[in-house]
């Protein structure tokens, strides 16, 4: 990318971040109780956390859990979404249940997960999966059902039918919608995982969400941890899904500047 384009790309989000830091500094200087530590104090806490290894360790554990939960949720969601798209009876009977799961706050799963799995790795991962696969399922179903009928008709006149119709036409046509589902599921998995980690403190294997708890007394360290969580989540969303989505849509002429 040329420097000019890089600038045009990062200037708007940079301005947003700078505004937040400015407001934060002002708010911090107006409160004297330490309830809002200054950006500098939070940066110092971040450096401390990096130096003593607590943040990188927790981050790696969290990302491993996240990768596992996310992959399971995507496989489950795409398979179920496809099943619901194929069978009307299944769609009418199961879709409302998936919607119910989708609107259930994922924090509500934490106590159940602890009762079923104990304070274990499994409980945390369960919360992340159950918090994200409904979004993936509904997005897949929607993406398949929104494939323009013309593509399906064109595919059938070319001799595609049954599975070959799905492979050659329906799946590729629904890919942009499935991508949107991936992005959504990623956000949900991330949030649900944090809720799980915060509440389920698995012995000796604390993730980022757990740091939110142990650092409760130190507001600067808490905010530093929160910052790491947000930056990692946004970076993954932008670098992974944002770029992939742009490529898929650009190829099809669905981007405004193409």
């Amino acid at each position: 990318m040329r420097p000019r384009r890089v600038l045009a790309e990062i200037a708007p989000p940079l301005v947003g971040v700078l505004v937040v830091i400015a407001v934060w500094s002002i708010a911090s200087s107006l409160t004297s109780t330490g309830a809002i530590p200054s950006p500098g104090a939070v940066w110092a806490a971040f450096v401390d956390g990096m130096r003593d290894g607590s943040i990188p360790q927790a981050a790696v554990r969290t990302l491993v859990r996240l990768a596992f939960s996310f992959i399971v949720a995507v496989v489950l969601g795409v398979a179920l979404g496809l099943g619901l798209a194929l069978n009307e009876f299944a769609r009418r009977s199961i879709r409302p249940l998936v919607v119910a799961l989708q609107i259930t706050p994922f924090v509500a799963w934490v106590p159940l997960a602890v009762i079923w799995f104990g304070v274990t790795e499994r409980a945390v991962v369960f919360v992340a999966i159950v918090g994200s696969f409904p979004a993936m399922t509904l997005a897949t179903l929607q993406a398949i059902r929104q494939v323009p009928p013309l593509y399906e008709r064109a595919g059938r006149t070319l001799g595609a039918q049954g599975w070959s119709l799905y492979r050659a036409v329906i799946f590729p046509a629904s890919l942009p919608g499935i991508m949107a589902g991936l992005q959504q599921a990623w956000g949900f998995a991330w949030k649900a995982l944090m809720a799980g980690e915060l509440i389920v403190a698995t012995a000796g294997a604390a993730g980022l969400g757990h740091l939110l708890d142990t650092r409760g007394s130190d507001v600067a360290a808490l905010l530093a941890t929160l910052g790491v969580i947000v930056v990692l989540g946004v970076a993954a969303d932008y670098l992974l899904f944002g770029q992939l989505d742009r490529r898929i849509r650009g190829r099809r002429g669905l981007l405004p500047d193409s």
Partner: protein, 277 residues
Amino acid sequence: MANAETSLLRERWDAGVPKLSVRDLTVTRRQASGDTVTAAAHVTFDVALGEFVCLLGPSGCGKTSILNVLAGLDAPATGQALVDGQPIDGPGPDRAVLFQDPALFPWLSVRANVELALRLVGTAAEERGSRATSWLEQVGLADAADAQPHELSAGMRQRAALARALAADPQVLLGDEPFGALDAQARELLQNEVQRAWVEARGRKTFLFVTHNVREAALLADRVLVMSAAPGHLLEEFRIHTPRPRDLDDVLVTRVVSEIHGVLMDEVGRGDADAPA
């Protein structure tokens, strides 16, 4: 019937079953309101092997609905649609369709669109590339083969769709007003491509095109079937014996055009008068 050029076709027709056959066909169309309206009623016609027929009529007369039944995409309300004397049971690569929208798959390059058609009829992988290239050359798209459909003009997209439709060597090509949305120049180019494809098939391929453009029908067809306003039925049949390749300026074409035009204008006028307020 007396035309020497097409006598071979006539013999085949007289000897055997027609390639396409529509028997007392009634098709209905569901409207957005949920009501069903009769698009075409009790239509009967045959299309012989190797013949080029245009189905011409005012909009809403059910000509597209008839075509969709022949394509196997929709089922008739009553009556029958036959291919080689057999009832049509679903779409198939023996009957390619050119839709009004080119319906190219936007996630595939132009070449990959044509190759997909070849793959779906089981062409060996190593043959697909060269065959796709040769079809794209024939429609003048060799240079655009690796472009994505959205990068092409509307006319180029429809030419790519023609290459994709013909690639799998179908016995029948059905056209659903495929040039309706094109500008005059692109339309003329495509009409010539279609005419050439039909001539080069030397009586092995049967073309049935739906159009509301009288000049297009007269330019392309051996036979023009004129339909009434909705619910459509066949009004009149015109045979066009002008030798090919034809040109829109051909005198004979022009004379037939004015005749068909007369019939159609009467009908459109009647349709408007009958239409509920």
